[in-house]
């Protein structure tokens, strides 16, 4: 899974179809950096995502719990319109902020 670090912020850029395989990659990348105190904030850019299921949603929410417990921020960037109803039904937007661009997310406090 493609990612980039900006100081204490991790920007994830997954692509394609996100299921339990991608969920596992998300866990591996984020949990290691979180555990070692290398990052505090987590953003996921969904621009290039074509599909996601409840395994990936669960992994997102699991990371949210960890990030929030450590006082960090987490959000989603460029959510594809076709996925919006699905993410809403799953209650994602109740806990995750949403941004129009990576810059917007990185400059939000």
């Amino acid at each position: 899974m493609e990612y980039e670090r900006f100081g204490l912020t991790l920007m994830l850029r997954p692509s394609g179809e996100l299921d339990l395989v991608a969920a596992d990659q998300l866990r591996q990348v984020a949990d290691d950096l979180l555990a070692r105190g290398r990052i505090q904030h987590l953003y996921v850019n969904l621009e290039r995502v074509e599909f996601l299921d409840s395994s990936f949603l669960g992994a997102l929410l699991g990371r949210y719990r960890k990030v929030a417990a450590a006082g960090g921020r987490m959000g989603l960037i460029r959510v594809p319109a076709s996925m919006r109803p699905f993410l809403e039904a799953a209650g994602l937007f109740r806990v995750l902020a949403e941004y129009e661009s990576e810059l917007q997310a990185l400059t939000a406090s």
């Binding site: 179809e17 299921d19 339990l20 395989v21 969920a23 596992d24 866990r27 949990d31 599909f51 299921d53 409840s54 395994s55 949603l57 669960g58 992994a59 929410l61 699991g62 076709s82 699905f86 039904a89 799953a90």
Partner: protein, 167 residues
């Protein structure tokens, strides 16, 4: 547009085959005249059902972060015949039927498991059955402890009806 077809996929219960199942069912739904939006719904339902067979039926993925290495340790394919998932797909005049079958641990209380936001795994959302239900026309679950699980779903191609009406 293909009026009738029948295909079954049988595979080792590993995470990578969830995507293979989605691709197969999406292809067959496309041949049967389902719209792109409908195919996306079918893909989600198949993804949830096959993931459940792999994750819950056979405990292949240690979604519990305390046992992360269970699958990576590569012990799961040593006796592949024991951890097999079967996906049966039928197409008949615009009606798609998908059955996902495992010989895994099964469920004691199907009604409990099917409730939204109920999961035996704290890292999961408990929305798999809810998504299958909301994205397909029908859903039936047949399961018993130690007897495995069969999830059967159907969906009718709506685009077909609209198209027929337009003619």
């Amino acid at each position: 547009m293909l009026e009738r077809n029948q295909v079954a996929l049988e595979f080792a219960a590993i995470p990578e085959n969830v995507g293979v199942s989605r691709l197969l069912v999406a292809t067959l739904a496309g041949q049967a005249g389902f719209t792109i939006a409908e195919i996306d719904e079918v893909k989600l339902a198949v993804s949830e059902a096959v993931t459940n067979a792999v994750v819950h039926g056979y405990n292949v993925v240690g979604a519990d972060p305390r046992e992360p290495g269970e699958f990576s340790a590569a012990g799961d394919l040593r006796q592949p015949a024991e951890k097999q998932v079967r996906v049966e797909v039928g197409v008949e005049a615009g009606l798609l039927t998908v059955a996902v079958i495992d010989q895994g641990r099964g469920m004691e209380d199907v009604a409990w498991a099917m409730q939204p936001a109920v999961s035996s795994d704290p890292e999961r959302m408990g929305l798999g059955f809810a998504f299958m239900q909301s994205h397909m026309d029908s859903l039936a679950v047949d399961s018993a402890p130690g007897q495995g699980t069969r999830v059967t779903m159907t969906k009718r191609a709506g685009g077909r009806i609209a198209q027929a009406a337009a003619n």
